[in-house]
Symmetry: C3
Subunit: 665 residues, 3 copies
């Protein structure tokens, strides 16, 4: 049976029928239709309305809403409601509630108060999903499901997690002897002599064994995947025509997004770009990375399940209101980077509950205003271009390797002040984006054949599977860029007894003789052209074995020692960056590589302007976005046709503040 379509390029909204007097529903839904909305997400927090007490299922109200959606031509994605277990469940079955490292309980009254390993959550969660699935599998409005809502790490320390972690460890290591050996627990007499001594890491101390901490994280990742699978199994079986998605939110998450995404049909992201002008120099780029990361989860197009519609706020102070054009421009940014359906959060601001000031498209007053008008424009534009854009995707020649395992391991043991795995990735990605070079951001164990350049920041944990793959990639002619803090550990978080970069030493052709963790104490490197750049965080003192140096330290006792090298390896090249140079160094390096490898590049982008390309059977489309409060001008290399405005464009193209253009290439 074929799945319902999930790759239309279209616009949606969140709508919570249960939040509003039923007398408002039809007017709301009618206005959605009139505005051009095609999809609605519902019900992901509605458990207490769907099952007010144990076993008392009440779907009639949702039926009425569903029928209304259908009668106005809107399609619906249902969220499974497991992120908000109702009070009868948490009161009657307190094992649902997570336990913090200090023994404190994650009390109900908020959301996300559920241990993924809780037997009661799994039992009652499966029951409500089964009922919902059975009830709506044949409803004509329903096209898909969202599992839970915004999975995030809770690192629960309850008894069930404790038991499950013990079983997990038994399954992985077989015996305590093996576990003791692989984790090096004999340090500080931490050896387990019997399984009953084995627990989740209690107390929250940073001094715990780092191998334990990493595996505990893996166990929790697996718990989410397993928990989600209980939902997917039901949905696949009962609603075989419906697609399944999940909405990830705000990176970096310590989730295993790739495993969570593996069983989904499509990934989704909740996107809230920072509205403050003080973040204008960085927010467009952080956002671009978030979107590229989401596209990388399944290496295919994705949904935005929540798109900024007004200032967020509530438990936290509100942000700035979105500047005119901001909502539209950032919504287009998602499509420019591979979103198909863009669901805006939310139709109207809630009048009750903890999210009252997480502003929707329409304010509490229910008077549509400036933001709604902008949303309407966006709907019209998307509806006009949807058919053209449908099926188009991004084809990039550069990839950045992302690893949640590196992220977590480097958080367990921060290497040096000022070094953040994700911040470093942002810097590289920003340099590429400013250069007008598109890139994919993918899991570090993915195949790399299609890329001309692959950048892998800090492969701190490493195994032969990856090192061999990277060697093969370079041998076959790829350009690989690796950085300091690579090859430091095996996958059990144990330091390797060989010179760094460990398993990558051969490919890099370089040996780290020693290193200086400089943190915030800036140093200097000088490149082969005599240009100086500031560097921070870390300085590896390099001895090239087969590589050539291309930058050297300019100060301290290691002035003159190589800082960056390049090694010819098979048909390809391997760059090693021993330090974290400032962004302009990355720009110079990557700019050179773009020329050398004739990478597709939309050069000459001014501040805040971004370019990306979607291509497919219907054509090739260049998106130009000015994510900026100032008008910006870019020079077009030739004449294009604006598919947005229906006019030819060439030469100097000025984009208004938050202006956008879509050109057919």
């Amino acid at each position: 049976m074929a799945l319902k379509e999930y790759n239309n390029v279209q616009v949606g909204v969140e709508y919570y029928p249960e939040h509003w007097d039923e007398s408002l529903w039809e007017a709301d839904i009618k206005l959605m239709q009139a505005t051009g909305v095609k999809v609605v997400r519902v019900a992901e927090f509605a458990w207490s309305r769907l099952e007010p007490t144990d076993g008392d299922f009440q779907f009639a109200w949702l039926d009425r809403a569903m029928d209304l959606f259908h009668s106005y031509g809107l399609q619906v994605v249902i969220g499974t409601p497991t992120a908000t277990p109702p009070r009868w469940l948490t009161t009657g079955y307190p094992d649902v509630l997570p336990v913090f490292a200090d023994g404190g309980i994650f009390h109900p009254g908020v959301r996300g108060h559920r241990c993924y390993n809780s037997p009661s959550l799994r039992k009652y969660g499966s029951r409500i999903i089964e009922r919902l699935a059975q009830h709506y599998s044949g409803h004509p409005a329903v096209i898909g499901w969202q599992t839970d809502n915004e999975f995030s790490m809770l690192n629960c320390h309850c008894e069930h997690c404790n038991d499950a972690f013990r079983e997990w460890a038994k399954a992985k290591y077989g015996t305590l002897e093996a576990l003791n050996s692989e984790w090096g627990t004999n340090v500080w007499s931490g050896e387990y002599s019997a399984w009953n001594e084995f627990t989740v890491p209690l107390g929250g101390s940073r001094h715990q064994n780092p191998s334990l901490l990493l595996d505990f994280q893996r166990f929790q990742w697996d718990a989410i995947v397993e928990f989600q699978q209980t939902q997917i199994d039901i949905l696949r079986s009962v609603c075989p025509e419906h697609f399944i998605t999940h909405n990830f939110h705000s990176y970096p998450q310590k989730l295993n997004m790739y495993a969570v995404g593996a069983e989904l049909d499509v990934a989704a992201f909740d996107y809230y770009p920072n509205t403050s002008p003080t973040k204008q120099a960085t927010a467009p780029y952080s956002g671009a990375l978030s979107l590229d990361l989401t596209r990388g989860i399944k290496r295919q197009n994705f949904w935005i399940m929540e798109q900024l519609s007004g200032t967020p706020g509530c438990w936290m102070p509100m942000w700035r209101t979105p500047y005119p054009g901001f909502i539209r421009a950032y919504a287009w940014q998602t499509i420019a980077r591979g979103a198909d359906t863009v669901v805006h959060f939310r139709w109207r601001s809630a009048v009750a509950g903890a999210e009252q000031f997480w502003h929707g498209l329409i304010d509490h007053s229910n008077v549509p205003g400036r933001r709604f008008a902008e949303f309407t424009q966006f709907c019209n534009e998307v509806n006009a271009l949807g058919d053209k854009l449908k099926g188009t995707t991004l084809k990039n020649e550069v990839a950045i390797l992302n690893s949640h395992e590196q992220l977590v391991a480097l958080d367990i043991q921060p290497q040096v002040e000022n070094m953040e795995y994700y911040e470093n990735m942002k810097q590289i990605h920003r340099a590429l984006t400013k250069l007008g070079i598109g890139c994919d951001v993918i899991d570090w164990r993915q195949e790399l054949d299609e890329y001309k350049v692959v950048i892998a920041p800090s492969l701190y944990l490493l195994d032969e599977e990856v090192s061999k793959q990277l060697e093969a990639y370079a041998t076959a002619g790829g350009t690989l860029i690796i950085t300091n803090r690579s090859g430091v550990k095996n996958m059990n978080n144990i330091a390797v007894m060989q010179p760094l970069p460990g398993l990558l030493s051969y490919a890099a052709g370089v040996r780290v003789d020693e290193y200086d963790p400089i943190g915030t104490e800036a140093h200097v490197i000088v490149d082969i052209n005599g240009n100086s750049y500031e560097c921070l965080q870390w300085c590896d003192l390099l001895t090239p074995t087969t590589a050539e140096p291309i930058a050297w330290y300019g100060d301290d006792f290691y002035a003159g020692i190589p800082a960056v090298t390049v090694n010819t390896f098979g048909q390809g090249q391997v760059y090693y960056l021993g330090t974290q140079a400032e962004e302009s160094y990355w720009s110079a390096l990557l700019g050179d590589l773009a020329k050398k490898h004739q990478l597709f590049q939309f050069a000459g982008l001014p501040d805040g302007m971004q370019a990306s390309v979607r291509t497919g059977e219907s054509g090739t489309f260049l998106f130009l976005l000015n994510l900026n409060r100032q008008a910006q001008t870019v020079t077009l290399p030739r004449e294009y046709k604006s598919v947005l405005y229906g006019q030819p464009r060439s030469g100097e193209l000025q984009l208004e503040p938050y202006g956008i253009e879509i050109l057919e290439m």
Copy 2:
């Protein structure tokens, strides 16, 4: 039976007989008398001495002290000792101890370790008070009682609070259905299906339902009032001639001061103005607001129950020692703003316990020094003027409306970085004080007829009772000033579904089309005279319906849009300030209103100098206070007589650092 007098203008001290060897008592009390002290407060922390073990009452020691006070002509106020339950009580009846949101216990060994809802506290607290009242009802020295000491919010989460909160909610809402509906608990599936699911908000998360959080606060406010009432009932019945007071401390408190004050004869305040020269520009004004707030609790004169006598310190680092004149000038400030009796804390610094460095008038050495000499001067001055000042009060033409409910609601959901309800009130009050315009600060539900100008910052929660009253006030000719974040919610903390300022829209003649929470990112407004002012926190974009704009935004996408409006409403006018302009804007606006409405104003005050007027049958007295380390000069508009120095004063009047003057008008 008539109450003993509590409106003498006089000076008192704290004295703890139980802290000192009895051989010191008579010399101390003799010196009090010689210095001019008239009143002593005792016993508010003496429970363990008055009842060393369960039911073993030991009043003989206090009798001896009381008799000594009486023999030297000193009157006594007794504090009920419930703020410090003794160890036999907390050990034997641990329900006395408050429980924090995370389940931790407020352990004994300090003070304030008592849950207001504890059955044991109420039982044993009432018993000791009954005994004390019976014992001292006829003692000739005793004139009144202080309930407990410095009530403050504990937000206890114990089982008894849980049960009591459930009953409180039942009484307010009747049914769970009603409560679910009024609180909007269906958001995030927070609905209660049975009363046993209903608890105080556990865990301390800011993500809890804001309607629950607000009502929980109201419940805790009521618990204090109810707890105090158990004490008042005893005292009124056993000691009908004694007045009753309570000492509030350090604003803003999240207390319902007005309900606590309602059953008191007189309110009292514990006043510790900041001694540091770095706070000199603000402390005199924060202090003035504190005193005006205290006067507003019962809209009558008040007591100072603890007045700064030296540097505070102990668990916290010590402050600067009071500059010469500081102690006297700030004591006079309290009288200038409506204090009658001023009790200094404390006679001599404690040699033991946690308050050792909360300095008294006399140091540990027991050698009276500079500060004591200054106190002596103050006693002499007050004793010389007491008869003249007795019965005089402040008559102000301007009122600021204060609301503990707004304070708490805006704390539950901070609207924007940098916006603090109380800080905004301080800014307005400071502008008035610098202009030499006296004002009352009163509960927002009080009658307003007597005022020419009423300023109501952020009436965020609102009901028709208040909105109608404000409309009536303006209709009848009053000038009302309201600000942004008004009319946002109903009293259950639910957002209203109408354009802002909601229920005040009609009176203000203005509609908020949208808003920009600017926080710390400064913007500009331009007034009708072309003057520019910085504004912060918030920008409402206004469309006047019947109002006239009087200031406009000067930047961002809303440059030119009205920021401040005035609406003629009946005989009066309603100003709406859509943004938080800097103090000089308030000064300009209020200065204009002062001229327009011929408000009494002592204009031309230099930095740190304050003016206020007490008036009554004995005359009208202008207090001029230089709360400043620099001498300051002010120009007197005509000749006055100094009742302090017995000389005529006119023209340029110079006040020494911390100098004061009292002029008969």
Copy 3:
């Protein structure tokens, strides 16, 4: 029976055989021998390997290591393993685990998870030590023992501590009446009416009775001493030829180091000087104080049990790598200040566990590098000079009095912002060190006869034993310098009822009339030569009774009032510093005293250079250390012979960055 020698001047390393595959052992130990290492510390964290399950003792592996050490001529110090109770112990006997003030448990998985009062820890700790002692008492490699590892205050709040503290208090005070009286518990009704009400201070509030808090700290100090004594008793009895030490770490520790040290043969210190150039101006001096403090524990030479070998890091971000010369220079600094054996931590960086990035002499790669080469040089130098230096000690004419009781009491009640007992001591010590004046830092109750100048910062707690001793010292011709916040309290933390400096008033010849806690608000003093100095923290306003003023305040209302005085007292003089003047004032004052009393001084030291002298039967040796990244030049007053380089030195002597010189005098 004579103890094995512990006063050789020699070099050692930490080695953890249990961390490494046995195949690595012999190569490692062979390299130690070749490098010149003489001593190894082992086993202090090896409990789980020595006793994998309850009663199953496994010493064979350690025997094999011991035999190897012996066969390569290395001597061994064994650490008792009680700092890391194994999991079978913590699981089976959870009383081993400390309890925090809030009731939380110090969970296993890290180290130091042991309550010193735990019956199970004492029982099982004694058992393993007894077995170890019996097993190794006759092993030819073993020369001594380290008790536990880095004792530090846990302030455990478990049931056993509660009971023990109650017994401790009974023993000290006899009756509750006496305790109530001595602690002044009647303040805030804190009196105990029965012993069952008496507990350790729960909840962690700073508002607890300060007398209780101080005695609780004393109780915990005693618990460590008592716990250690159980170990010493076994070791003395079973291994009468072995010396006993303990490794203190990072000052200020709130330990009673003097009582812990009393039963040891020799004290040891773990020394990790800060490697960052941003700390270069202070780290050499903080380090010097740490070493002088350690030498003062027993007033004799000491060991370094852990000496920096590379950057530390792990749960915390890594520091900078040591600059070339840093490791050697700081190792020589320890010998220059009285270390005999210097054990480097650690041989090779751990590949597993929480200390992976606490770098050893050799990196994970097992390739000896720059740091190892520097260590080798140090070994060679020490081995060449060891015989000459053996038996030499420091003879200083100046002493600073240190008191853990002042440290703790001033932490319980911080007097004023910016005042830290230990920071003030650092300032004084730094001034002396920069002047080239050596000083001892000793417990405040030690005999002082040998010193010409004694400096006692803030003798806040005081009794007649000390005040009489200080009077006697001055009477006999000594120069005593005391500072503000002296004589404030008795030893039970109760303020004295006499003018300050209390018991020292007579000797100081001065009376504190009042004081101004100025904190960070800088003031000025002017000395007798008209020079102005900034002062901070505190200003005592002084009236000399018999003293002479030598500096006066230059501002505020006390301009012109004495700030510093000197009193001729018997044959000696007593200086009183009423304020905390900047370092240059101390330099001027101490420089004058050096001239006046002809103190030995190596004057003219440039930034970062330090001088000290070891003397003994084999000669007198002047150590000059440049603890600086810049070369520095010093002028030698005459010709000396370099025992390090075998050359004569005179006139200008330049030391390279981190260069050192040792001159025979």
